[in-house]
């Protein structure tokens, strides 16, 4: 019986970034929901404290995003995020079919991870959408909401601040949903905790 192959998937900078980003995003989600719904947050933290916390976490996550962005630009990690036109829809659908049906019926993972492939197509697509669309949108709208006087007063008949705030919360909500699915999918592996161990140690087992 051969030993499972181990791959060094997550370099140190990426793991630190990932952990830091996770904490930041969690803080943003909790404080964001608290601000938006204003469930009497003052029971544990006052509204202004929540706002300050959200602002600080927002700035930290923005800085952390730049680390990710530059890291992906200048290290080999960036290549995992390149979407190829070949099988643009077919490949993620195949992966989705595997998750929904195949994995329960003896089907082998259609896109086993290797040195060349760190993410399966569905993973890659969702990461690209979140990291290159949702997060930048949330960052831009978030920074402008921090300085609302720079926002255009009226976009046609709509309030600029209102549109910015809606876009910010819709994207924030999308990221929250991503986080839930991300955590759940991460539990699919040899054992439910295996992938969580990998993102801490950096080593991923190929079975």
């Amino acid at each position: 019986m051969s030993m499972p192959e181990k791959l060094y998937f997550y370099p140190v900078w990426l793991r630190i970034w990932h952990g830091f980003n996770a904490l930041g995003i969690l803080t943003l989600i909790i404080t964001g929901i608290s601000m938006q719904s204003s469930v009497e947050s003052s029971y544990f933290l006052g509204f202004n404290m929540i706002v300050n916390l959200h602002n600080v976490a927002g700035i930290l996550v923005t800085l952390s995003y730049f680390i990710f962005f530059i890291g992906n630009l200048f290290t080999p990690n960036g290549k995992y995020y390149i979407v190829k036109p070949n099988g643009f829809l077919k490949r993620p659908l195949k992966q989705a079919y595997y998750y929904a049906w195949g994995m329960f019926h003896g089907m082998k993972a259609p896109f086993p991870l290797s040195e060349k492939r760190k993410f399966n197509p569905l993973q890659k697509y969702s990461y690209v959408i979140v990291m290159y669309l949702a997060v930048p949108t949330v960052i831009i709208t978030g920074i402008t909401l921090m300085f609302p006087e720079i926002i255009i007063d009226k976009v046609y008949n709509f309030s600029g601040v209102f549109i910015t705030a809606i876009l910010h919360s819709v994207m924030g909500f999308f990221i929250s949903i991503f986080l839930i699915v991300h955590l759940y999918i991460a539990s699919i592996g040899k054992s439910p905790l295996e992938n969580f161990k990998s993102i801490i140690t950096g080593w991923h087992h190929i079975h």
Binding site: M35, Q36, S37, S38, E40, S41, S42, G46, F47, N48, V51, Y99, A100, M103, F104, P148, E149, N157, F158, S159, V161, F162, I163, A165, I166, S169, V170, F173, I177, I180, V181, Y184, I188
Partner: protein, 312 residues
Amino acid sequence: MKFSSLVIALILFCCTFGHINAQSYQNAKHHQCLKCHSNQSYSFFNTVKNKEEKRLMNPYFILDTVALTHGVHKQFDCTDCHSSEYGTYPHSSNLKLEPLSTCLDCHGGDKSFATYQFEKIDVEFKKSIHYKVYGDNFTCSKCHSQHTYLATARTSSNVLEIVDYSNKMCLSCHNDMKRYKMVSGHENPKLVEVHDWLPNQELHFQHVRCLECHTDVVDSLMVSHNILPKEKALRKCVECHSANSRLKASLYKYQNLKMRSESGGINVVLANESYVIGSHQIPILKLTSILIFLLVLVGITVHSIFRIIKRK
């Protein structure tokens, strides 16, 4: 007899008609009062010195004729409220001591003004810090100039306009040392400094009224008139920044704004001039987000159950 009554009536009509024409605010130059009170200076014949003189007008007695022609009392002439003896110059010094009609003298108990609730406003006002500090001398006109007042909160469909008009009433004294000191006896605090705890101060000042935090909100009253002492002013963000925002009982309760928000659906929601975090929740987006969240949870639960059954 009948004929003479008719003649008298006709004469009266002509006089009144002539009077209105002569006294029109539109034509300040020919208005007996405004020809002086709408200018920086005025001329008169000094009978003691026996010569024509030109003097500066007291700046507090100069009237804005444009605002006058738009104000709620535009149909009244000066002497409807002020003594007709003001028609001669120099004005008799005793005239200044005569009491002027108060708002309630005309508006109190009048059914046609019932919606304005003048009596209730009076009750609320008497609880306010303004009344406690200055008593009966703090008349309605300290804030609501009878000459130029507009019922903006009732007529405007623009929140920012309502806010601006209302805040200017407060600032006319609270940002004016002389006027403030006359009532309070001390200098006015610097508003920017005393509000420095408020984040995005400028935006708050543009989008909500001073009244929002500085009055005791009374649901049944259009505009709360119980101005609280500064120690009792609101300093709790969630009072406005919540689904049950106090703004809904004050600034956003006005029918003219409500009508607009109830008739136009989503476009109207989007057309709001302002956005209050926590208060402006869009029901459709809230429902959609809850549904998506529940669907994700159901999906994960079903998938987990299959994974447990299939030991995957």
